[in-house]
């Protein structure tokens, strides 16, 4: 009967989509081990009443909402301190995080405080071998191989790659006990002074369900309207290859690949991207891959589910039009 602590991410009082993914994975493992318990941990300010009730239907049995004004912005030090204390209190068998920007910062801090092992950015998690009774699978060598690890001691800790674990649909009938706890983290050394969000309200690459990427084949930043037009028709985020970023056509935050972001959307559309091994590293776990390239021998076609051989300058306007028709 495993007990699982699941860190649920919120920013600015809004629950992240990964909440369902993490709670879903926790629920599955808890039930697989015979009526285990899932404790969701929310950290922030004034969040118990607004967000707590949403977590039962997603799989939590109990919600610990740790609240304090100083917890409204993320602080790695504060969040890690509180989570480590929660883990010491609850004595879970497993602690789960989303491998988001916040989770990737937080999980290793908690693991370091607790002195236990952490498997980062996992794509699969199962009950099984190893001291702690869990095994995690995670991409290594930029996705060119998959490493399976066990944990020497309890609790096991893992962060889950966004978009890989499917969130079960919410069960309105399920509810969780919500415990609002006033948690003063004490003196902090790291103060987030501000959160600066890019001017555009576009979807972030790593959170997007659809990504449209442009490569050097797009010939210049003045042609990005074609990429953005297609992305807008699909509600997608836009990405870029390193060649494009290095040329200064697009900011680094949009780079996909081994030295950029790793994405696993349900649909990835690569336009004028050759498909270098370092690019593939960042997107080959996407569910469906589409390539548009004028070179029929471009390596990107080897990983693509669907391809169009052709000039992106001719194909993209037409494709955008067709998607608009479909969405009607």
């Amino acid at each position: 009967m495993p007990k699982i602590l699941a860190f649920v991410e919120q920013r600015g009082g809004v629950l992240k989509r990964t909440a369902g993914e993490v709670l879903g994975a926790a629920r599955r493992l808890a039930d697989g081990g015979g009526s285990g318990e899932v404790v969701a941990v929310l950290i922030g300010h004034d969040i118990a009443a607004t967000l707590g009730a949403a977590l039962g239907p997603l799989g939590a049995d109990r919600v610990r909402a740790l609240q304090h004004p100083s917890l409204a912005p993320y602080s790695g030090e504060a969040y890690a301190r509180l989570l480590a204390a929660e883990a010491a209190l609850a004595k879970p068998d497993l602690v789960l995080f989303p491998a988001s920007a916040m989770g990737k910062d937080l999980a290793p801090r908690v693991a370091a405080v607790l002195g236990v092992g952490l498997a980062s950015d996992c794509t699969a998690l199962e009950a099984g071998a190893g001291g702690s009774g869990f095994a995690a699978t995670r991409p290594v060598y930029a996705g060119k191989a998959q490493l399976k690890v066990g944990f020497a001691a309890s609790p096991a800790m893992a962060s889950l790659r966004p978009n890989v674990f499917t969130a079960p649909s919410a069960q309105p009938g399920r509810s969780a006990v919500v415990e609002a706890v006033t948690s003063d983290p004490g003196a902090l050394r790291d103060a987030v002074q501000s959160l600066v969000l890019a001017a555009s309200a576009k979807v972030d690459l790593t959170e997007a369900d659809i990504v449209v990427t442009g490569g050097r084949g797009m010939k210049g930043p003045e042609h990005w309207g074609l990429i953005e037009g297609l992305a807008a028709a699909l509600g997608a985020a836009t990405g870029a290859s390193r060649a494009v970023v290095d040329a200064g056509w697009r900011p680094h935050a949009e780079q996909v690949g081994q030295t950029g972001k790793t994405v696993s959307p349900s649909l990835y559309i690569a336009c004028g991207v050759s498909g270098a091994i370092q690019h593939l590293a960042g997107m080959s776990s996407s569910r469906v891959i589409v390539a548009i390239n004028k070179d029929p021998d471009a390596p990107i076609f080897k990983v693509a589910d669907y391809g169009i051989v052709g000039d992106a300058f001719e194909v993209l306007p037409r494709l955008t039009e067709e998607f608009k028709k479909l969405k009607g």
Binding site: Y74, S100, A101, K144, Q146, V149, D190, D204, Y306, E322
Partner: protein
């Protein structure tokens, strides 16, 4: 002031991964190694801080792992770092705690005001040595940094998050992990490569710690099933949309 930079020797990004006979590790034959790309940003940032301060801060490069990592330390020395420390030993793959405890021990002995690392090493992509290091040293930590300013014993850093960045201030000593965008690493000039051969590189045996993760297996990812070309040119667009809508059901 002293700046420590922790670096790692990793298979270069062109590596075609093959699995060794033990089913748990990378087949090493034919693999060439390089400095992990994010670590280059860390080395460059240390050198920029040194240059801006008129050359007084000492930049010390540390690496834990196999003896051959001396090559990567020399690369950092050729970029301009002052000296290197190699903690030699066999570290279990992907177990951050062993590497971090070795590095933390050396850093305690060395003493530094700032420790720079890459945001992740591109072999195990483990994302955690810096956090273990900060914890073991009792230092502050800012990860995935794209802009860094040091002033009055404090570090002001931009940390990349979804859709933007956080501006974080921490007191020194701090561990800062570097992301692309922070700077453009310099190339080592030939004279500097020659000079680097004479810079001090101290070798020590590392004290191994009990691993917290155990490797159960390493495998190639499942291959993607073969795709198809739906057509040529713009007239293929409707076919693609149809396939994505009806077959793949993603739009």
């Amino acid at each position: 002031m002293r700046i420590a930079v922790c670096i790692k020797r990793v298979p270069d990004t062109e590596t075609k991964v093959r699995i060794a006979a033990d089913g748990k590790s990378l087949e090493p034959s034919g693999v060439s190694y390089d400095l992990s790309p994010y670590d280059e940003y860390a080395v460059e940032e240390a050198l920029r801080i040194k240059d801006a301060a008129g050359g007084t801060p000492e930049v010390v490069v540390l690496s834990a792992g196999v003896g051959d990592a001396a090559t990567q330390i020399r690369k950092a020395l050729a970029m301009g770092a002052d000296r290197g420390i190699l903690l030699k030993g066999d570290l279990p793959f992907s177990d951050a705690s062993s590497a971090a405890s070795a590095l933390a021990g050396a850093l305690k002995e060395l003493g530094a005001d700032l420790c720079l690392t890459g945001k992740q090493a591109i072999d195990d992509d483990g994302l955690q040595v810096p956090a273990y290091l900060a914890q073991a040293l009792g230092w502050t930590l800012v990860s995935v940094v794209t802009k860094l300013e040091l002033k009055d014993g404090k570090a002001l850093a931009h940390r990349q998050v979804e859709g933007g960045h956080e501006v974080v201030e921490v007191p020194l000593p701090a561990v800062i992990t570097c992301q692309k965008g922070l700077n453009t690493p310099r190339f080592a000039s030939l004279p500097n490569i020659m000079k680097a051969k004479k810079k001090p590189l101290e070798e020590k045996a590392l004290a191994s710690a009990a691993p917290r993760l155990t490797v159960l297996g390493l495998a190639l990812p499942p291959g993607r099933k073969a795709g198809r070309i739906v057509g040529q040119g713009p007239d293929a667009a409707p076919l693609l949309v149809k396939a994505l809508h009806e077959e793949a059901k993603v739009v």
